[in-house]
Amino acid sequence: MEDRELIRRIQNGQKEYLNEIAGKYYDDIYYFCAYQTGNREDAYDLAQETFFKFIRYVESYRYRNLKGYLLTIAMNLCRNYAGRTAGTRIAATFDSWEQPEREAADCAEVSMCCQGEFGRLEDHLLLAEMLGRLPEAQREAVLLHHFYGYKNREIARMTGASGPAVKSRIRQGLTKLKKWLEEEGF
């Protein structure tokens, strides 16, 4: 079902469709929070909180781009999270990314990926670390542009920055990422 139709039904009181929206976009929101905060564990809570906020205010939501709207909520939550955990963030980051990796080795459902794709986990770890080094605004812009495929104009609307500022953030972020990844032999 189209997002517009889902929203129409929800606003007409059929609240069960909120679960459908959560199921449809949970992963997208989760990955965004994970890369934005650098913490895979806290990202589950942030993704959950994103949907809580959406559910709370869904009556007043005017349909435009649902995924973008959810990502905007997630982005604001991640900014608050960054403010709260400013001192402890770096230490938590690496633990939280390595822990699931260790669990993955024992986990049956992930074991099939370990045969050929164990290296991918290392890539994710490296990518997350490099993204974590970027300033928050650049990280947001790079994530939304390259991972989610949003245009500069859409990112500007979501982040409240100007179009040229978004373009500049993406360019600077990518230049730094490329340099750091090359240094690591990626």
Partner: protein, 247 residues
């Protein structure tokens, strides 16, 4: 694998399922509040207006038609027609905005609290209604009067637009600046002052000559800008309350 998906890593399905459970619980507890649409708000506001109010609005439009027809029969006396129409448009604005002025009365805040009214919304809808009727008056006067004018409909429209815009700017300013005076006598006085100002160009020999059309155009543009700013600021003034104390 899709290249766009390469940055995705395996999600912990147990954690995800726990989150989805929490979300389902939140959905079950959700109680919907009803937000009426803009059209419903307008309808709800307008349907409680008294028959006297609608008779007054209709009377203003009918009088506009009479003034316009009277002017069209006096061909060749452009400046007299323009002056009469200008004064009329100013008074029409005064009458139409009187409904808005009443919402700025004392103790409206108490009424808002007691009856769960949304005063800002009510004022916006009443201003919209006044604007529609006022624009109707402007359209009638320009449409009928402009067709018979030697200056042409476009220029005639400019002559009407200037008193229309600036009188509304003055009324809206007085709604908040001299709120206590803007009822009864105060409103009449404001109407008379605006009427005299609208009549003023008729005493200038060349005011309605083609050479001065750019001046009228400049005054219109300035009026649009100032009125836009005034309309934008009024809801903010009500919300913040530092200029308008409704209690």
């Amino acid at each position: 694998m899709d290249s766009k998906m390469k940055w995705r890593f395996p999600v912990d399905e147990r954690r995800k399922a726990a989150c989805m459970r929490e979300i389902r619980l939140q959905v079950e507890e959700k109680r919907f509040r009803r937000y009426p649409s803009f059209a419903e708000n307008v309808w709800n506001e307008l349907r409680f207006q008294s028959p006297w109010h609608w008779a007054l609005q209709g009377g203003v439009l009918f009088a506009a038609l009479l003034v316009a027809v009277w002017g069209s029969r006096r061909a060749g006396t452009d400046s007299v027609n323009i002056a009469a129409s200008s004064v009329f448009i100013v008074f029409a604005g005064n009458i139409c905005l009187s409904g808005v002025a009443r919402l700025f009365s004392w103790h409206m805040a108490e009424l808002e609290q007691t009856l769960y009214l949304n005063l800002k919304q009510m004022i916006c809808i009443r201003m919209l209604e006044a604007g529609v009727v006022d624009s109707g008056v402007l359209a009638i006067l320009t449409g009928v009067g402009g067709g018979c004018s030697v200056s042409g409909t476009g220029v005639y429209f400019l002559y009407m637009l200037v008193p229309f815009l600036w009188s509304d700017v003055l009324y809206l300013y007085m709604l908040t600046a001299f709120r206590n005076l803007f009822s009864g006598f105060g409103q009449t006085a404001a109407g008379v002052i605006c009427g005299l100002l609208a009549l003023f160009p008729a005493f200038l020999e060349k005011a309605y000559q083609p050479d001065y059309v750019p001046v009228w155009a400049a005054l219109s543009v300035a009026g649009i800008l100032v009125l836009g700013v005034e309309l934008y600021r009024i809801p903010g003034k009500i919300e913040r309350g530092e200029h308008v104390c409704l209690n």
